[in-house]
Amino acid sequence: MKKWIVVLFTAVFMLMMFAPAAFAESAPPDNFKIGSFTQVNEASHTATFVPSDTNEPATVKLDEAIKAEDVKLDDKAMVSFSDSNGSETVTEITVMFLGLTRDKLIALLIVGLVGGLLSGFIGSGGAFVLTPAMMSLGAPGAVAVASNMCHKFPKAMVGSYKRFRYGQVDVKLGLVVAGSAIAGVQVGFQIQKWILNTWGSAGSDLYVSFVFVIILVVVGGIIFKDAVTTAKGKTEVKTPKLAARLQKIKIPPMIHFKKADVVISAWVTMPVGFATGLLAATIAVGGFVGVPGMIYMIGATAMVASATELLVAFVMGMWGSIQWALAGLVDIRLVLIILAASLFGVQLGALGTTYVRDHTIKLVMGTVMLIVAVSRGVKVPVYLAHLNIISLDKNLANLLDSISFWALIAALLVAGGIISAAMVKGIVRSRIEEKEAAVAGRA
């Protein structure tokens, strides 16, 4: 077992070395510099820009679309350049770091806590709401993605350590899935890039939403139905039919996953990991296919699959974070504020799993996926309008935007509610049983 784990760890990290563009949630942009402006010259429409990496001031031209008052002096900014006119011209300036007010701090702490609770319990989640939450608080998209990822990997590390101690993590399965997920991320990223180049940003958004909604409705629906069915029965369903059939395929190499209690061909586990990576690069939440894949295709219990997904998230998140940090896009303040709450949440969610049965994990996952699908589904008309396929009233577009955001918040709240209720019920039941056992012992 130990030898296997060393070999797998080495293989996964070798794969990372040879996959420089392999990270979840698309790629850091590369046509920008981080730095600050120290001076603006309105007459010549130029500014003095000091890049953070070299600290050498340079005079740069401002694009006609950029007004002198758009240049905020001394604020760190992401500055995009074009090489038009034969010299570097600033085409876009995005102030990188949002000012932190008390309200923003509280919002980040609450979202961090509930997002952490969800991750600890179902192995993924949190990311789907944290990135949009940071963006709606004013962080640029790239900084929000980078900061979310840099917060995700330490959170997943703490969560997977906890669940490992509860005996729920299959380390070998986690590493096999993470290894093949890295390949999936590469392919997913190339597809994204191709779509972005062919149909532009609105086309890419539409594609992402389409994949997101279809997968979340289908997979979320299956999990939700399964959770309701098994909740009615007294015993958990042993091995799902598809997994049982796939386990009969005896194409070598066969791998024995001890904790998951499964012997299965690597030709089955690899597609699950690959799809996880593909989805991570496309819709940013690989766990929404990784966990169901481990349950319904490999045959692990929801308990082991959700715990193992935390290990997958740690490995992939760590690698992704390195890429985004190399580009200098991580806002460490956001990372640490969210971690302050999410490290409580993830451990609470992890210990919560010890009080529930498999179907509760499935119920939370299915519910979250279906609500998140609604959140993304309502945005489809907005993207169709951007592509001029349909026309959409501006007020209606704004309404759809806010429905989308509040649906995400609802997903977090509903999940937090189910988890807390199940946990309280489990803890009360366990304490009553303890007392009864103590009374019986004394008698």
Binding site: I34, S52, V158, Y166, Q347, L348, G426
Partner: protein, 80 residues
């Protein structure tokens, strides 16, 4: 309280909480210098990664101890 009840880790929690708070205080009172170096990219990428890891260990252990003190522990018979 039952005699078999585990001793709660008050001292350890206090020490970890103090360390975590001091780390947060230090970082946020030096935020300008921190942000200057943390966004340089390249070799400086190690800074945000190491910081996130450091906080996850210190603050994570603190959180774990707080949960134990609050009596929120894994169900009996689960792992160790």
């Amino acid at each position: 309280m039952s005699k078999t009840a585990k001793k709660k880790p008050y001292l350890q929690t206090l020490a970890l909480g103090g360390l975590s708070l001091a780390s947060y205080y230090f970082l946020f009172t030096h935020v300008n210098q921190v942000m200057e170096y943390f966004v340089k990219g390249g070799i400086y990428a190690a800074l945000p990664i190491a910081t996130a890891l450091y906080f996850s260990i210190v603050h994570g252990s603190f959180a774990s101890n707080v949960l134990s003190i609050l009596g929120l522990q894994a169900a009996k018979g689960t792992g160790h």
